[in-house]
């Protein structure tokens, strides 16, 4: 289990993140919402050990995150960044195969996992192509397959942190990506996902954290968090909240 205790991050004189108490629970998707600059990516950076907290700590199980040996940590915790700078002509399955670098599961097993992860990210048809020849959205799905492969098949005790995994995707693949994430969670993994689309968050997340200027404004179920008042307070956007006619989760429409 990944747990943040009283976490705060300073950048120069500014406190960009504070008062974060959070745990990622097995079998749960936790969505993080907030306006630009609210500290969502900072939170993700602190949770994966990329940013040093100025206060508080992050625990993976009973050990502080920074005390974990690199490869052991990598077998438990995978991170999908917002954008990637890969500028070399790896084939798609080689990129996904990098997710297997922390493991010593053997070539045959790795090839199986790479195939399954590509399938889960709806990118199996891209196998054999050069990464550089792909579109932005296709690249994003290949990287999703890479982090899925890193934790495959996603048992209890594994954590997946996703920074806006749907930002470059068409509407269909926004849904397939989050469905793949859900399927992963069914195996017992814990997922934290940063999202901008409130309706995607309503549909696919079990809990939501609403951030405002680096501090938690609300943390709870989609029904509790996606109400007109908190959304007005944090985003400054007037919204109508209705029910999804078929699924019953909140449906947010700007007024």
């Amino acid at each position: 289990m990944l747990r943040a205790e009283n976490l705060a991050v300073q950048r120069g004189p500014c406190t960009v993140l504070a008062d974060i108490n959070l745990e990622l629970r097995p079998g749960e998707v936790l969505g993080v919402l907030g306006p630009n600059g609210a500290g969502k990516s900072t939170l993700l950076g602190a949770l994966c050990g990329e940013l040093q907290p100025s206060h508080g700590a992050v625990w993976l199980d009973q050990r502080r995150l920074q005390d974990w040996p690199g490869s052991e940590r990598a077998q438990r915790l995978a991170v999908l960044p917002q954008t990637s700078t890969l500028n070399f002509a790896f084939r798609v399955e080689e990129v996904v195969g990098m997710g297997r670098l922390p493991h010593a599961s053997g070539r045959v097993r790795d090839a199986q996992i790479i195939k399954q992860a590509l399938e889960a990210a709806d990118a199996l048809h891209l196998a054999g192509r050069s990464y550089l020849a792909l579109s932005g959205g296709e690249r994003q799905r290949v990287h999703l397959a890479r982090v899925l492969a890193q934790l495959w098949p996603g048992g209890e005790g594994q954590m997946l942190l996703l920074d806006e995994p749907t930002s470059m995707l068409d509407p269909l693949h926004q849904h397939t990506t989050l469905q793949a994430t859900r399927a992963f969670v069914e195996q017992g993994a814990a997922v934290l996902v940063i999202l901008h689309d409130l309706n995607l968050a309503a549909r696919y997340c079990d809990r939501l954290l609403l951030l405002e200027r680096g501090r938690p404004h609300a943390l709870g179920s989609p029904e509790e968090v996606l109400r007109a008042e908190p959304l007005q307070a944090v985003f400054g956007l007037e919204v109508l909240v209705q029910r999804h006619p078929e699924r019953g989760h909140p449906l947010i429409v700007a007024r």
Binding site: E50, V79, L86, M98, L101
Partner: protein, 345 residues
């Protein structure tokens, strides 16, 4: 741009190319030897064939001149290409060059100090001069690289972008210092300086091979151990960290290997450009960017290309000899431009 050759086929092809390059490099020159005699004499020199006295002249030429020269070319080409791979991986840029971190300009500065300083002191003892020159070049390369690395570090992390800019600045500074030494030098010293800057495998001797052999072996054994980390680092430094690699440590090792490798190569053969830039790029076009293949394949290709370039340098104006830096630049620069323009379409 998918890879066009399987790694196995590439290794076979490169092995054959290297064998051919070695053979030609031993056989051809101002006095060309028959190919079969060359082979026989070389095997005898290496103790692999029964001695005999029918090939005394061939054995003499080979043993005294061509074998050390060929081995020097082999090592310099291999180590320059390996360091090129390391730098392109470190900077995540397929157009990066080992000179970026200041090692070449530092070595040139060290050599200028030795050449001009030695002349000012009334000339170095004839027997010592080449060794002293190599030593100064090696120390200069290591020193400037250490400074570049130090400038790129902040809060326990190395910023490669800062390192790149520090490398450019220190290269300019070293250039100014070399310019000053050039200005102070007399005509004879100036000539030595110029020739050294153009690189040459001329004057190879077994005694000067040893340090380079040790360094090349160390680099060639160490870098492949970091092949997986280099692959992961192409994704980005934080991605490599998320995959469990000790990125700061790997970066330090890459810089150290390059400083050592290029420093030793420049110390032994002067400035030879474009091998470290073009060879990894070329190999990547053939088999893709996986460092587990790229590193050993680049070493083989670098050794072969440098030997062939040296052959051209020896033969084009025979019995006179072109500096090899001119040949590698003449072949390398247009090829590099071709790669640039080809990538645009």
């Amino acid at each position: 741009m998918n890879p066009v050759i399987r790694p196995r086929s590439l290794f076979i092809a490169l092995g054959l190319l290297l064998a051919l390059a070695l053979w030609l490099s031993l056989a051809l020159g101002p006095v060309s030897l028959p190919l079969l005699d060359t082979l026989k004499a070389a095997l005898r020199l290496l103790g692999l064939a029964q001695p005999g006295d029918d090939l005394a002249q061939a054995e003499l030429i080979l043993g005294q001149i061509r074998l050390p020269r060929t081995l020097l070319g082999l090592l310099v080409g291999a180590v320059l290409a390996l360091c090129g791979v390391a730098m392109q991986g470190l900077f995540r840029n397929p157009l990066a060059d080992p000179g970026l971190i200041g090692v070449s300009s530092g070595a040139a500065l060290g050599a200028s100090i030795a050449i001009v300083g030695g002349a000012a002191l009334g000339g170095l003892p004839e027997a010592f001069a080449p060794y002293l020159l190599s030593l100064f070049a090696f120390i200069g390369g290591l020193g400037v690289t250490a400074l570049v690395y130090r400038l790129g570090r902040r809060d326990g992390e190395t910023n490669v972008a800062t390192m790149l800019l520090a490398g450019i600045a220190l290269t300019a500074l070293a250039g100014a210092a070399i310019g000053l030494f050039t200005y102070l030098a007399d005509d004879a010293t100036l000539r030595t300086l110029t020739f050294w800057n153009l690189g040459s495998l001329n004057g190879a001797s077994y005694a000067r091979l040893w340090p380079l052999l040790l360094v090349t072996a160390a680099v060639a054994l160490w870098l492949p151990r970091r092949a997986k980390a280099l692959n992961a680092m192409l994704l980005g430094e934080s991605e490599a960290r998320h995959l469990g690699f000790a990125v700061e440590r790997v970066k330090a090792e890459l810089v150290f290997c390059t400083a050592l490798g290029v420093g030793a190569a420049v110390a032994a053969a002067g400035m030879i450009g474009f091998i470290g830039l073009v060879v990894p790029h070329l190999v990547r076009l053939l088999v893709g960017p996986d460092h587990r293949v790229l590193l050993p394949a680049s070493a083989l290709a670098g050794a072969s290309l440098l030997l062939l370039a040296d052959l051209a340098a020896r033969l084009v104006l025979a019995p006179a000899e072109l500096p090899i830096g001119i040949v590698t630049a003449l072949i390398g620069a247009p090829f590099f431009l071709y790669l640039l323009l080809r990538g645009r379409t």
